[in-house]
């Protein structure tokens, strides 16, 4: 016990500028931990505060496994494997910033992480890292690890942790829980889904350097549809109705999907148990608040109002290398390049229950404007500004009711719909008002 605490005692004494003796700190720490039974983290911070120090200067975090992490940890040490890592540019307090995000894994579980500051070492999938002074937050009911300015990250030998195998987790204990497609949520495991396979195709993917076959497609029940990935060949065929027991739900590219592997059992059911494929294959209309709760969904329809255009709408120029939109003629990665013109709309779509960013590609934007990219370039040249295109789009779109269909992805910044098709909504306002009024008078 005492030996374990020694580094923390030292840490506290140092944070207090050696004003207080180690014996004194050791006695206090032991009292906080054994008499008051607070966590080591809280104890350390309280002692430093009590003696007038700044708890932020504590450097020795507390080692935990990923499963032990709770939201709101201030300073925690981890040994974990990078399961996945990606880069993204975000806008923080007006400036643009590159962050890393991905998934950390250890033998106990996997957890998403975000690195808000540049790291001294590049991170790649499969690396084992020792992380000191990370902090955690809760996002949508899930713990997330954050690397901040005080966090130190160093690479360890790949053998320091056992290999991470996606999908091949512990065998499930207990009976699977029956869940309808619309109720599938990220992180759910050992669920049972009864659904019709709408489509399935075999793909080869690389998992930890080895080729692996995955059978992916779309399945549906009366409540909705979802993408799925089967990591074993269950000989799934389009149109058949199956019961999948022992599936789990994982988010892939911002959309939760059903996955199942050799732990799952598949039972073929009578084909007339569910409505036919053409009935199930419609794009369900959803409220944005429900999409937010679900964390995104594939192929849904939303009705709302485009209440604002975001920056970067209209005529934009992209980097020929990486397709990033140029700012002031320069790409963040490749510097000054000759940009390739493109049209797009990034709009706020709000349905009164929530809001999402709807992204329209060139083809859709041309349709909305009833104008080709070339015509837009000509108009911008004449006006000597690309603003004319944006203004025209704002004129057409802002405050308009619209119906948009597409995939909705979810991340820390909210929901985004990659619009597949869209139309301005024409509603028979009088008929709907009459119906509502009749309902009102009927109940009165």
């Amino acid at each position: 016990m005492k030996e374990e605490l020694a580094p923390h005692v030292h840490d506290i004494t140092r944070a207090l500028g050696n004003k207080v003796s180690e014996q004194e700190i050791e006695r206090e720490l032991s009292s906080y931990l054994n008499v008051y039974r607070v966590s080591l983290d809280t104890a350390k911070r309280s002692i430093v505060k009590k003696h007038g120090g700044n708890p932020a200067t504590l450097t020795t975090g507390i080692s935990k496994t990923l499963r032990e992490l709770m939201p709101g940890e201030q300073s925690v040490n981890l040994l974990a494997r990078i399961v996945s890592v990606n880069e993204r540019d975000v806008t923080v307090e007006g400036g643009s910033k590159r962050i890393l995000y991905g998934i950390l894994g250890d033998p106990t579980t996997t957890i998403p992480f975000t690195a808000w500051e540049p790291l001294p070492v590049p991170l790649a999938k499969g690396d084992v890292v020792r992380v000191q002074n990370a902090y955690t937050k809760e996002y949508r009911g899930q713990v997330q690890v954050n690397f901040g300015i005080r966090t130190a990250v160093a690479k360890e030998s790949p053998t320091a942790l056992p290999e991470f195998k996606p999908g091949a987790g512990q065998p499930y204990v207990g009976k699977p829980t029956a869940v309808r497609v619309a109720d599938l949520r990220e992180g759910a495991s050992n669920v049972a889904v009864t659904a019709r396979i709408l489509s399935v195709e075999r793909r080869e993917v690389e998992v930890d350097g080895a080729a692996k076959a995955v059978f992916s497609g779309v399945l549906a029940d009366e409540t909705g549809k979802t993408q799925f990935s089967a990591w074993k060949d269950f000989s799934l065929k389009p149109d058949e109705v199956v019961r999948v027991e022992g599936a789990y739900v994982k988010t892939w590219r911002g959309i939760p999907q059903v996955s199942f592997d050799e732990r799952a059992t598949i039972t073929r059911l009578k084909p007339d148990l569910l409505p036919p494929s053409e009935r199930l294959n419609v794009s369900p209309r959803m409220w944005i608040e429900d999409l937010a709760e679900r964390g995104g969904a594939a192929d849904v329809t939303v009705r709302g109002i485009l209440i604002d255009l975001r920056e970067g709408s209209g005529l934009v120029y992209r980097c020929p290398e990486c397709r990033r939109v140029l700012r002031k003629g320069a790409c963040r990665l490749h510097g000054e390049v000759k940009g390739e013109p493109d049209l797009r709309v990034k709009a706020v779509l709000d349905d009164g229950s929530g809001a999402l960013t709807a992204v329209f590609d060139r083809e859709l934007t041309e349709g909305l404007l009833d104008k080709s990219l070339e015509a837009c370039i000509a108009a911008a040249k004449e006006a000597m500004s690309t603003d004319v295109v944006r203004d025209e789009l704002a004129d057409i779109l802002v405050a308009q009711p619209i119906e948009a269909r597409g995939n909705v992805t979810s991340d820390d910044y909210g929901l985004m719909m990659i619009v597949e098709s869209a139309k301005l909504l024409k509603v028979d306002v009088q008929a709907e008002a009459r119906e509502m009024l009749e309902g009102l008078e009927g109940s009165a």
């Binding site: 209440i307 709000d350 009164g352 405050a399 009088q430």
Partner: protein, 295 residues
Amino acid sequence: MIREVAWRLFASEYNDANLETEGTGERPPSYIVTPLGAKVNRVFVVGVITDVENVGTDGQPMWRARVSDPTGTFHVYAGQYQPEAASALSKLKPPVFGAIVGKSRIYSPQPGTTYTSIRPEVIKSVDESVRDYWILEACRSLQKRLDAMAEAQKMDPPTKEGLVKVGVKESIADGIVQAVNHYGKVDLSRYMAMLAEGLRYLLPEYREPIAPGEPTVDAPRPTKAEPSREADESEGKVLEIIAALDADGKGAPWEGILETATTRGVSKDSLEESINALLDKGLIYEPILGRMKKI
């Protein structure tokens, strides 16, 4: 941070609100909670912009617009920190159908008096069909809150969990509980009537017949219209007096207003009436007791 939803709600419900709350997080958003439990940070309003006026100075303009819907009037203020909205407002030629997206604002010059307004983010002139669709959406939104509030009034005390259990969305349930704690048992019939009024507004069969060239139809009207015109006139006079007497920027003293009003032919009774009307409309306020100031 997740973007705040834009509420569709009628002016009358919005202007009834006098409860302000804060959310959580690093930069906590502020909300106005209406008596029916709408917890409003952002609004989307479509109505008739009836007038736009610079209530600031030429150097530092502050544009005020009044936007009316079937139930009442929203007050929209755009100044130097809303340059796009301010410029859009200054160019509008009322009356015009306008769509406004903006942040909710509440102003309390003294305890017991609150004024709600909107700080616009986007302003755009639209056509009538967009306005009609907005009324329908505002009616639907109102209906949802009426149903949820009716459920809440059956509970003693209403809780978020209890409301969620009977099918109320969590986002609405939170505001409902706060509203009940602050406003007590709200008279729902008033809002039921507001809902019916909104729906009828959309239906031609409920529109008052307008028959040009048949003045007989309009015959009973002048008697109604005249006193209100008279009232408008005296309100205008009173507003001028208040502005003129507010020399030091602390507001016009009551005695001075009364004196000047009497010399200009406004009786004490109609002066009091006008002042109350102007206070209600949010055109003036009482910075300190006994002094009136133009907003």
